[in-house]
C-alpha cells in the first residue's frame, strides 16, 4: 500500500514545503547467500514477537523497472487526455462519532474532502486515497481530472490511515482494520452526500480507490450492499493489496534491508542524502532550491535499486509514524505516548518522532493494534485480526458480484505471486493486469484510464484488450 503513495508523498511535500527530495541510500540490495544471511538476521531483529504471515521477497514482484515506475509514476506525455478545467470545492465536515480531539491534533477537527461538480445531472465517482494520503494527492488529482473529463462528479476522500481522517472520522482512532476503517469511511460518505450543494444532481454512484484505498473502495461497496443507504453501483480497485499486513511487513523488511532498523541506519541514510544533494546542488548553477531543482535533483540523487527501495521504504515508514502515534494516543497503549500525560500543543515531539521512526509495522500491530482490538472486540484472536486484514473478507462478493473490478501490475511491489494469483482467480475476467508500472506507475496512463472508464461503465471485457 504505502509504496504506492511514494510518488504522491514526494510531490506533495515538494509542492507544499518545497524542500524535500526523495530519500535514498546505497546500503542494501544485496543478492546471494551472504545477503540472505544478513537479511534474515536483520529481519529477525526488526520483526520481534508477533507472528505475521511470511511476506516473501521484500520488494514483492517489483524488479528494477518496477521500483522506478513506483517512485516516478507515469511520464507526463503518457497520461490520458486531461480536461482544460476542473472546478473544485473543498468541504470541511465535523462528524458526530469522532472521538474527543487530542490537543496535539487541534488542526484536524473536521474531515476535509474535495468535490468537483458537473453542471448537470451526472454519475458520481467517489475516490479513496492510498495509505497515509489526504483527499487531494497528485494521484487523486489525476484520477479526478480524467473522470471529470469523462462526465463524472468527483468526490475525493483521504485514506482512513491519513492522520486527519483518524482524528476527525475514525470511531476507534486505531487505523488498520479493513472492515472498521471502511465502515467509518462509509458513514462519512453518507454524511458528505447529505451535505453536497443542492444543485448537484447525482444519477449513479461508483467507488474507486488506489492502493489500500482500492481495498477500502471494495469493502465500502460490500458494506453498502447490506446497509443499502448509499446505493453504490460499481467499485474499481487500482493496485490493491491482498493482505494489508503481509504488504506492510514486506515494506518493513525493505526498510530493515536498505536502511537498517536502528537510529544509526536512519542517520546514515540522512547523511548520504545530504551529501549527495549538497554536491549536486553545488555543481549546478542554481541560486535557490525550488521545485524544478528538486525534480532535477531526484535523477542525480536516486541511482541504484537500493536507493529506490530505500525511498519507498522510508516514505512508507514516515506515514506509519503518524498512524502509530495516533493509535498509541487514542488507544492509550503507552508505547511512546504517556496516556496519563499526553503531549500538549506546545510540546516538542522530536523525541517521540525519532523513537517511532525506528519502529516497524510489526510493533504497531503487536503493541497498539492487537491490544486495542483484543480489548474492544471480545472473543477475537490475533489470527482472526490478521485474517480480517485480508481482502478475503469480501472474497465471496468479489468473485460473484459482476460490479467489482481491479487493475494491477504484474510487477507490483506490494504483491507476491500467490497474491496476484488470488486476485486473478477471484475476479476472473474483471481484472486488468498491466506488464509494467510497479506499484501505481500506470495510474493515469492512456490504457489504464480507458480501462477504468470501461469498468465504471460496466462494458469492460478482458478479451477486448
Amino acid at each position: 500500500m504505502k509504496g504506492g503513495i511514494v510518488n504522491d508523498a514526494r510531490l506533495r511535500v515538494i509542492r507544499h514545503a518545497g524542500t524535500i527530495v526523495p530519500m535514498l541510500s546505497r546500503t542494501g540490495w544485496r543478492r546471494g547467500v551472504v545477503a540472505l544471511i544478513v537479511f534474515a538476521a536483520r529481519a529477525a531483529v526488526a520483526l520481534p514477537t508477533v507472528e505475521l504471515p511470511d511476506p516473501g521477497p521484500a520488494s514483492g514482484l517489483a524488479d528494477s523497472k518496477g521500483l522506478r515506475a513506483t517512485v516516478y509514476g507515469p511520464l507526463p506525455q503518457d497520461l490520458a487526455p486531461l480536461p482544460a478545467r476542473v472546478p473544485l470545492e473543498e468541504m470541511d465536515i465535523a462528524l458526530p462519532w469522532a472521538k474527543p480531539l487530542p490537543e496535539v491534533l487541534w488542526f484536524a477537527r473536521r474531515l476535509r474532502v474535495w468535490f468537483a461538480a458537473q453542471p448537470g445531472p451526472a454519475p458520481l465517482a467517489i475516490l479513496i486515497s492510498g495509505t497515509g494520503g489526504d483527499g487531494n494527492t497528485q494521484k487523486l488529482a489525476t484520477l479526478r481530472a480524467v473522470l471529470y473529463g469523462a462526465g463524472y462528479h468527483v468526490l475525493t476522500l483521504p485514506s482512513p490511515t491519513f492522520p486527519g481522517f483518524i482524528a476527525a472520522a475514525s470511531s476507534t482512532g486505531v487505523a488498520g482494520d479493513l472492515h472498521q476503517d471502511s465502515l467509518d469511511l462509509y458513514r462519512a460518505i453518507e454524511v458528505i452526500l447529505a451535505h453536497l450543494p443542492s444543485r448537484v444532481r447525482i444519477t449513479d454512484i461508483d467507488t474507486v480507490g488506489y492502493s489500500l484505498g482500492g481495498a477500502n473502495a471494495a469493502v465500502v461497496k460490500s458494506i453498502d450492499a447490506v446497509a443499502g443507504r448509499v446505493h453504490i453501483h460499481r467499485a474499481v480497485m487500482i493496485n490493491p493489496p491482498v493482505s494489508l499486513f503481509a504488504s506492510m511487513s514486506r515494506l518493513d523488511r525493505l526498510f530493515a534491508l536498505d536502511i537498517g532498523s536502528t537510529d544509526e541506519g536512519i542517520e546514515r541514510l540522512y547523511r548520504k542524502l545530504y551529501a549527495r544533494l549538497a554536491n549536486w546542488y553545488r555543481s549546478s548553477d542554481r541560486v535557490q532550491i525550488d521545485e524544478s531543482a528538486l525534480l532535477e535533483a531526484a535523477g542525480a540523487v536516486l541511482q541504484t535499486d537500493a536507493d529506490f527501495e530505500a525511498a519507498i521504504a522510508l516514505t512508507f515508514r514516515l506515514d506509519l509514524v503518524n498512524v502509530f502515534f495516533a493509535g498509541d494516543l487514542y488507544a492509550g497503549t503507552g508505547v511512546v505516548v504517556d496516556p496519563k500525560h499526553p503531549p500538549h500543543a506546545g510540546d516538542s515531539l522530536e523525541e517521540i518522532g525519532r523513537a517511532l521512526r525506528r519502529r516497524p509495522f510489526a510493533d504497531y500491530f503487536d503493541k497498539v493494534f492487537a491490544p486495542y482490538y483484543l480489548r474492544y472486540r471480545p472473543g477475537t484472536t490475533r489470527e482472526a485480526l490478521l485474517a480480517d486484514s485480508r481482502l478475503d473478507i469480501i472474497a465471496e462478493q468479489l468473485s460473484h458480484d459482476p460490479d467489482y473490478y481491479a487493475q494491477t501490475n504484474s510487477d507490483d511491489l506490494i504483491l507476491d505471486a500467490v497474491e496476484l494469483g488470488w486476485l486473478r482467480r477471484t475476479l476472473g475476467e474483471r481484472i486488468a493486469v498491466y506488464d509494467h508500472g510497479g506499484h501505481l506507475g500506470t495510474l493515469g496512463e492512456r490504457q489504464q484510464v480507458a480501462d477504468l472508464l470501461d469498468m465504471l461503465a460496466g462494458r469492460w471485457r478482458a478479451q477486448s484488450r
Binding site: H16, A94, L277
Partner: protein, 301 residues
C-alpha cells in the same frame, strides 16, 4: 496616514474574521480556483524536455579547465552533513507562532490568495513581474555588498530593461534577453561573509525562518526603504503595495499549513527548512573557503 487609518479600521473586521473562522461549524464549503490539468501537464512535458536538453548539453560540453588560482572544492562527504537535530532554543515561542500562522493563513491569507487567483492569469503575472522587478533593487545592492559585480550588473541590466521596455516591470523582457532572474538578499549577504543560519525562528505571518533570515528580511526592507524607488516604500501607497505583494507571494507559494495533518509537521518543516538553507550555504561557501560543519552540534547553531 490614510493607509494607517484604513489598517486600524480593518483590524476589528480582521479579528472578527479570525474568531468566526475558529468557531464551530459542522460543514463549510469553499469554492477553490479551478484546476487546469491539461495546461499543467503540457507544462510538465515541456519542463521534462528542457531538463533532458540541458542534461544532453551538459554531457556534450566538457567542464571548463579549473583555473590554478581556484582549486575545485572538496566534495561534501557524509561526515560533513550537519546533525539531524536542529538548533531551536525558542521552540515554545516558535510553536506558538507556527500555530498562530496556521490559523491566520487558513482564515485570512489563503482566502485572500484564492480570491486573487480568480483574476486573469495575464494580470497576475504582470503583478508578479512587477514585484520581482522591484526586488531587483535590493538584489543589486546585495550583490554589491557581496562584491559580485557581474551578478550585480546583470540584475541592474534586468531592472533597467524591464522598467523601460517591460513597461514598469509588468513584463519580464530581460529573461528573454538571456538575463535570468537571480534574486539575492541580505540573508545571503550575511551567509556570504560567513554567518551561520543561527537558531530556527518562526516569524509571525512570514513563517519558517532562521535568525539570519529574520535579520535578512529587516536588512532588505531597510534597503528598499532607503533607496525608495519611485517613492513606493514610504507613505500611504506602501501599505497597499505591501498587502498586494503579500497576497501575490502567498498565491505563488504552494504550501498549506497542516495539509499533512501530521502531529510532526512542525518538526518536519523545521528539519527541511534548515537543511535547505545549509545546502544553499554550502554552494556559497564552495566559492570561498571550505566551511566544515561540526556534526555533533545541532544544525543551524
Amino acid at each position: 496616514m490614510a493607509g494607517a487609518v484604513a489598517m486600524r479600521a480593518a483590524l476589528p473586521g480582521l479579528c472578527a474574521l479570525i474568531v468566526s473562522g475558529c468557531a464551530s461549524q459542522s460543514v463549510t464549503i469553499r469554492s477553490l480556483p479551478p484546476e487546469r490539468p491539461a495546461a499543467e501537464n503540457a507544462a510538465a512535458i515541456e519542463r521534462l524536455g528542457q531538463m533532458k536538453a540541458a542534461a544532453a548539453a551538459a554531457r556534450a560540453h566538457q567542464p571548463p579547465p579549473e583555473s590554478p588560482s581556484e582549486p575545485p572544492p572538496q566534495p561534501i562527504t557524509t561526515a560533513d552533513a550537519p546533525s539531524m537535530y536542529t538548533y531551536d532554543p525558542w521552540e515554545r515561542m516558535n510553536r506558538f507562532t507556527y500555530r498562530f500562522n496556521a490559523r491566520f493563513d487558513e482564515d485570512v491569507f489563503l482566502p485572500a490568495a484564492n480570491g486573487y487567483r480568480r483574476i486573469p492569469a495575464a494580470v497576475r503575472s504582470g503583478v508578479h513581474h512587477f514585484f520581482n522587478n522591484l526586488s531587483e533593487v535590493k538584489t543589486v545592492v546585495n550583490y554589491g555588498l557581496q562584491l559580485r559585480p557581474v551578478n550585480g550588473l546583470r540584475s541592474l541590466g534586468r531592472f533597467v530593461i524591464n522598467s523601460t521596455v517591460g513597461i514598469g516591470g509588468l513584463l519580464d523582457v530581460a529573461t528573454k534577453c538571456r538575463l535570468p532572474f537571480q534574486p539575492t538578499g541580505f540573508s545571503v549577504t550575511l551567509a556570504w561573509w560567513g554567518m551561520h543560519p543561527g537558531p530556527y525562528l518562526v516569524i509571525p505571518l512570514l513563517g519558517p525562518s532562521t535568525l539570519r533570515d529574520g535579520v535578512g528580511y529587516l536588512g532588505d526592507y531597510g534597503i528598499d526603504y532607503g533607496v525608495n524607488p519611485v517613492n513606493l516604500y514610504r507613505g500611504a501607497p506602501s501599505y497597499a503595495l505591501g498587502v498586494t505583494e503579500a497576497v501575490d507571494t502567498r498565491a505563488n507559494t504552494h504550501f498549506r499549513y497542516y495539509s499533512s495533518a501530521s502531529p510532526f509537521e512542525y518538526e518536519t518543516v523545521r528539519f527541511l527548512y534548515v537543511r535547505k538553507e545549509l545546502i544553499e550555504d554550502e554552494a556559497l561557501h564552495a566559492w570561498r573557503h571550505r566551511k566544515r560543519q561540526d556534526a555533533t552540534v545541532p544544525a543551524g547553531r
